[in-house]
Structures are given as structure tokens and as C-alpha cells.
């Protein structure tokens, strides 16, 4: 059989490969992608491992390659581990787009960046600072230390912290985007740093778990918590004051844009070169930036006032 089948510009057979399939965050991204697929009359499917383990993603890439999908849209669990397989796919003429978490740049054509890494990193520190009036020990609860996006954000957070002499970052903990681990890590942070004032968790799983611990440990309001999360999973904590405010881009839009980008690639409208532009349905026109990065836009801040307007 011809591995490169299906790349005729007409057929849109686009597969999403998230870090893990059973993660509400990626499910809402998938919802957006499905919307785009409907608009473009293309096919959409989402496959992936049940655990966020890099090596688990590779067989799926291979399978998709064999199936000759027209494009793979991936959120890389480990930028380099998936690279060889993705390169094989590209060699077979399959377009590769990364979203949410980038791969090695030479293993994809375009990276859909949910928000400028810098914006997110800096703004989260600012949000937290305003909650703890610029003083005290803070900690970061990240996903995995290999997650490209996480590390980039953390980089800018540390830089932003220089502006707040009275705030000190005491620890960066890793919850592996796993609920129990994140929960225990939060518990560990609180125990290890009795004077902890605030936690930033730039991951949807992490922030939810952290919020839950703070609530059960009766620390709501005592330790401030912010980060990136989905409104649905944090709504109750925002209402009971465990979380005053948190950020996120519109995940649905992320998937939506990623699908349009992939489609544009498949249809040959773009190749991924800097400066190329394409239109993404209701989101309007986007321009490809340096080394194939497309920016979704600034993040939204969710708080008690606006949270009920969102459902994802």
C-alpha cells in the first residue's frame, strides 16, 4: 500500500494526537477542532495514549502514518521523543502541526501557540502578586519538567519575579499532569514551606488538584492560588474563594485554529514559512511568525464575575 495516500488536496483527514486522551482540556480543544472540521467538511478524529507518557505517543504516530491521514495535529509530551516518528510521517507527505506543547521545530511545519509564552509567564506572576500584595514565598506546581510550554512559561515567571523583591520562588514542583501526584505535591509544598503565601500552577490538572487540597486542608484564602485552568473544573473553587482568579486562552479556539492551520497546509495554501497568512473561519486571519509559530492571542482572566459565561 502507498503510505503517502490521502494527501490529495481535496480530502481533509486530520487526526489530533493529544498528550493523553482522557483529559478534559484536550477534549474541549477537540470540540473546537470538530467545529472547524464541520465548517470545512473535513474528517476529524482524536487518538492517543491513556497516560501522558512520551513513548506511548510514538505508536500512534506510526499508526496514523500507516493510515495515511492527511495531517497529524499533536501536543508533544516530549519534544524529542516524538520527533523521529513525526519526521517519518512528514517524509510520507503527511502534514504535521503541533499545538499546546511544541515538538522539535524540524519535526513539524507549524506550532499553534495558545498564547505568547511571555504574556502568560509574566501575567500569571502579576495576577498572583496582586492577590498576595507583592510579598511572601511562592511556589510553582508544573506538569512534567520536560513539557516545553511549561518550562518556557516558568522561565518568564522567574524573570518577571525580579520586579517583586519581596516575593521569593521557593520551589518548582512537578505533578506530571496527574491528579493524585499533583494533589500530593501540593500537600508536600504546604508541609515543606509553612510560610507559603501563593502557588502558581500553569496546568489545568495541577491547579484543580491544588485547589482541592487547599480546600480540604482548610487553607482556602490563606494560600493564594492561580494558574491555567478550565472554567468547568475550577468553577466551584472560584465561587468558594479558594481561587480568586486564573487564566486560560479559549481552548476551543486553540483546537479550532489548529485544525484550520492543518487544513491550510494540506490544501497547499501554506507551507509553514514565516510571513504566510491563512484565515481560520470565525477567528479571522493569522500570520505565521518566526520558525513556524502561530499565536492564538492573549489569555482570558476568569474570576467570579465572568466565569459563568464560559462552559468548557
Amino acid at each position: 500500500g502507498s503510505g503517502g495516500g490521502g494527501t490529495t488536496a481535496a480530502t481533509l483527514n486530520i487526526a489530533f494526537l493529544p498528550k493523553a486522551v482522557n483529559n478534559p482540556y484536550f477534549d474541549s480543544a477537540a470540540a473546537g477542532a470538530q467545529k472547524a472540521a464541520a465548517e470545512l467538511k473535513g474528517q476529524f478524529k482524536q487518538v492517543g495514549p491513556s497516560d501522558a507518557v512520551a513513548s506511548e505517543q510514538v505508536p500512534y504516530i506510526q499508526t496514523l502514518t500507516t493510515q495515511g491521514v492527511s495531517a497529524i495535529v499533536i501536543s508533544a509530551d516530549d519534544a524529542n521523543a516524538v520527533a523521529p516518528a513525526l519526521k517519518q510521517a512528514m517524509a510520507k507527505g503527511i502534514k504535521v502541526v503541533s499545538y499546546d506543547s511544541d515538538t522539535a521545530p524540524d519535526a513539524r511545519a507549524i506550532f499553534i501557540n495558545q498564547a505568547s509564552t511571555e504574556d502568560i509567564g509574566r501575567s500569571e506572576v502579576d495576577v498572583l502578586a496582586s492577590q498576595i500584595n507583592n510579598t511572601g514565598q511562592i511556589a510553582i506546581l508544573s506538569a512534567t519538567s520536560t513539557a516545553t510550554n511549561q518550562n518556557a512559561w516558568i522561565g518568564f515567571m522567574q524573570d518577571e519575579l525580579k520586579k517583586f523583591p519581596n516575593m521569593s520562588l521557593v520551589k518548582i514542583a512537578y505533578g506530571n499532569d496527574d491528579d493524585q501526584t499533583s494533589y500530593n505535591e501540593t500537600q508536600a509544598l504546604v508541609q515543606a514551606y509553612p510560610d507559603l503565601k501563593g502557588i502558581i500552577s500553569p496546568t489545568t490538572v495541577g491547579i484543580a488538584a491544588a485547589a482541592r487540597y487547599l480546600k480540604t486542608a482548610g487553607l482556602s484564602g490563606k494560600i493564594a492560588l492561580t494558574g491555567l485552568g478550565t472554567p468547568n473544573s475550577l468553577r466551584s473553587y472560584v465561587k468558594d474563594g479558594t481561587i480568586k482568579g486564573f487564566e486560560l486562552w479559549d481552548v476551543g479556539h486553540l483546537g479550532y485554529l489548529a485544525y484550520y492551520a492543518a487544513a491550510a497546509l494540506v490544501q497547499g495554501k501554506i507551507t509553514g514559512k514565516q510571513g504566510e497568512t491563512f484565515t481560520a473561519g470565525t477567528l479571522g486571519t493569522f500570520t505565521i511568525g518566526a520558525n513556524g509559530v502561530v499565536l492564538l492571542g492573549p489569555p482570558t482572566v476568569f474570576d467570579a464575575n465572568n466565569i459563568d459565561q464560559f462552559n468548557f
Binding site: S50, V53, A54, G68, D78, P84, T146, Y174
Partner: protein, 336 residues
């Protein structure tokens, strides 16, 4: 159980049928299944497990078990990565990874033979210990920037063919194991130990020494698997191959090897290896949800032992009914 032995040949026949079934299923589920690239992917995905079943088979045949293989894989992968991160030459890194694996296996062996502890508990302990050591060394870091040559070895195929490099290693080792296990005096001694440890000792077989060697080999193989894994994903991480031990043991048992030792053949296990590999691949190709795989594998595992038992019980029941007795004996004759 005794009578079940007569059924081993039958069991291997069943496995072959199962294998064919899997192939048919695969090709009917997806047009891409028989595509040569895909088959090459199947082999590639089995790279580490195919090696690990070899040593696991030997260990289970002498009536022991090694739960720590996946952790040893992770540890040696991490050692390789850590040294590479500190700019050691690749050859040194690989040698070190193999050495660490071998040492880990040797320690298992010592605990089992010298102290006479049950291997189930010992390797349960080292399963956690070795994985823990891997985390201690590399934490959550991942070392990736390996040279292309290394990655190609792990991920690429023999030029001009679609045979992945690691599979070549498997073929070579498999041939050796077949010869040793089924053709040499050593193999005979292994089965003897598994069947009757006392009799083995009374016959002058050095039981403890042999077990020590086997655990050490298992460690080495796991280390080798660690190197291959690292190459395949150009990524050395502490959580590499987490949980592989279950797959490996499952495949071995599915291959008709008795968990009590003394019974089982490599051909059977190899067939089982491909049954599992192909089923997983077929199910994924057909876009079945991930969980279908684990359900199928688990079901096969239980059936692999339940099946023969059930047949034996049926036989006993029938033989008690004089009418069928002759029929049964006839069937058994024709089988042997």
C-alpha cells in the same frame, strides 16, 4: 495440572490458530494492516519486549520470577542519558548502561539464591528500588540530544529492508536461546530445576549458581533493552518503559509457560509475542479505543491457563464415564 502437559502441543497449535486469527482480524479491520510499513512498525514496537521475554522465559522455567525488568530498563536508560549529558563518549555511556543492568540483575540473583528469599518479593522490592534510583539520578529530566547514528539504530531499519535493527538482535538472541534451551544440557538442567528442585540437586545440578546466572542475564538483557529504548525514542527518562514487566510476563505465560516452572517452550512464547503485538496494532489501526487492547490481552492471559485446565477437567469427567474412556484414550494417542 499434570495431564495438562499432554496438551502443550495442543496449546501451541491453538496459539498458531490465534496468530492467524489475529492476522485475519487485522487485515479485515484495516486495509493498511498488511502494509509492509505497518508490519515493520509492529516489529519496532516489540523491540524491547521481544528481548525481555527471552530472559523472563528462562527465569520462569526454573520456577522463579523477575518483576524488576522494566525498572532495570529505566535505570540503565537513565544512566546512559546522565553520562551522555555529562559529555561521556557514547560507547562509554552504553557500556555503563549495560553494566548497571547486569549489576542490578546480579543483586536480584544474590538476594534470591544467597539469602533464599522468594523472588516474587525480592523483585517486587527491586522493582521499586531500581525505578527509584532512576528517578534519583535524573529526576524528571529527559536527555534527548543523542547523535543521529544512535537514534537510527533504535528507530531505523536495515537499509533497503523494513527490518528494524533491534529486531535483528532479537533474532540472534532467540536463536541462541532456542539452541541452549531446547538443544543443550543447560536447557535440560533448567527444566529439571523447574520440575523438581530437590531431584535436580540430588543429580548434581548447581541450582543456586544457575539461578544467580539467570537473574544476572535478565539484568543484562534489561539493560540492553534500556539502551534500545533510549535509542528508539532518543529520550532517556526515569519513567521509561513503566509497567512493561506486566506485558512481558503476560506474553511469556500466554506462550504456554507454567508460572510454577518446568514447562514451556520458546516457540510458544514467540508466537504469543506476535499475537499480542499484532492484536494491539490491529486494534489501534481500526481506531478502536485504547482500552480494547488491555481487555483483549488480559482475557487471553487468563484463558491461556484456564483453557488447558478446563480441557483436563472435561477429560477427567469423561474418563470417569466409561463410555467415553476409549474415545479419550484414542484422542490422546493421536495427539502424541
Amino acid at each position: 495440572m499434570r495431564r495438562a502437559i499432554r496438551l502443550i502441543s495442543l496449546w501451541e497449535a491453538l496459539l498458531v490458530a490465534l496468530l492467524l486469527g489475529a492476522v485475519v482480524l487485522g487485515s479485515s479491520l484495516s486495509p493498511y494492516f498488511l502494509n509492509s510499513n505497518n508490519l515493520s512498525n509492529v516489529l519496532s514496537d516489540l523491540s524491547e519486549k521481544s528481548l525481555m521475554i527471552l530472559s523472563m522465559l528462562l527465569i520462569i522455567i526454573v520456577g522463579e520470577i523477575d518483576l524488576s525488568v522494566a525498572s532495570i530498563l529505566g535505570l540503565s536508560s537513565v544512566v546512559l542519558g546522565d553520562l551522555w549529558m555529562h559529555n561521556a563518549p557514547l560507547a562509554v555511556c552504553i557500556a555503563a548502561a549495560l553494566a548497571v543492568g547486569t549489576l542490578a540483575g546480579f543483586i536480584n540473583g544474590l538476594l534470591v539464591t544467597a539469602l533464599g528469599l522468594p523472588s516474587l518479593v525480592v523483585t517486587l522490592g527491586t522493582l521499586a528500588l531500581y525505578r527509584g534510583c532512576a528517578y534519583i539520578v535524573l529526576g524528571q529530566l529527559a536527555v534527548s540530544n543523542f547523535p543521529d547514528g544512535f537514534t537510527t539504530f533504535g528507530f531505523g531499519s536495515i537499509p533497503g529492508t523494513l527490518i528494524p535493527w533491534p529486531f535483528v538482535i532479537f533474532v540472534v538472541l532467540a536463536v541462541i536461546v532456542i539452541l541452549v534451551l531446547h538443544g543443550s544440557w543447560i536447557g535440560r538442567q533448567l527444566y529439571t530445576i523447574g520440575n523438581n528442585q530437590v531431584a535436580a540437586r540430588f543429580a548434581g545440578i548447581r541450582v543456586a549458581r544457575i539461578k544467580l546466572i539467570l537473574f544476572t542475564i535478565s539484568g543484562f538483557i534489561s539493560g540492553l533493552a534500556g539502551v534500545i529504548f533510549t535509542a528508539r525514542f532518543s529520550s532517556a527518562r526515569a519513567d521509561n518503559a513503566l509497567g512493561f514487566e506486566l506485558d512481558v510476563i503476560t506474553i511469556v505465560l500466554l506462550g504456554g509457560v507454567s508460572i510454577f516452572g518446568g514447562r514451556g517452550t520458546l516457540p510458544g512464547v514467540i508466537i504469543a509475542l506476535f499475537v499480542v503485538g499484532i492484536l494491539r496494532n490491529a486494534v489501534a489501526l481500526a481506531d478502536f479505543p485504547t482500552e480494547t487492547q488491555s481487555i483483549i490481552v488480559g482475557g487471553l492471559l487468563v484463558l491461556s491457563v484456564l483453557g488447558p485446565n478446563a480441557i483436563v477437567r472435561l477429560q477427567n469427567w469423561l474418563t470417569r464415564k466409561r463410555v467415553f474412556a476409549t474415545l479419550i484414550t484414542y484422542v490422546q494417542r493421536s495427539r502424541t
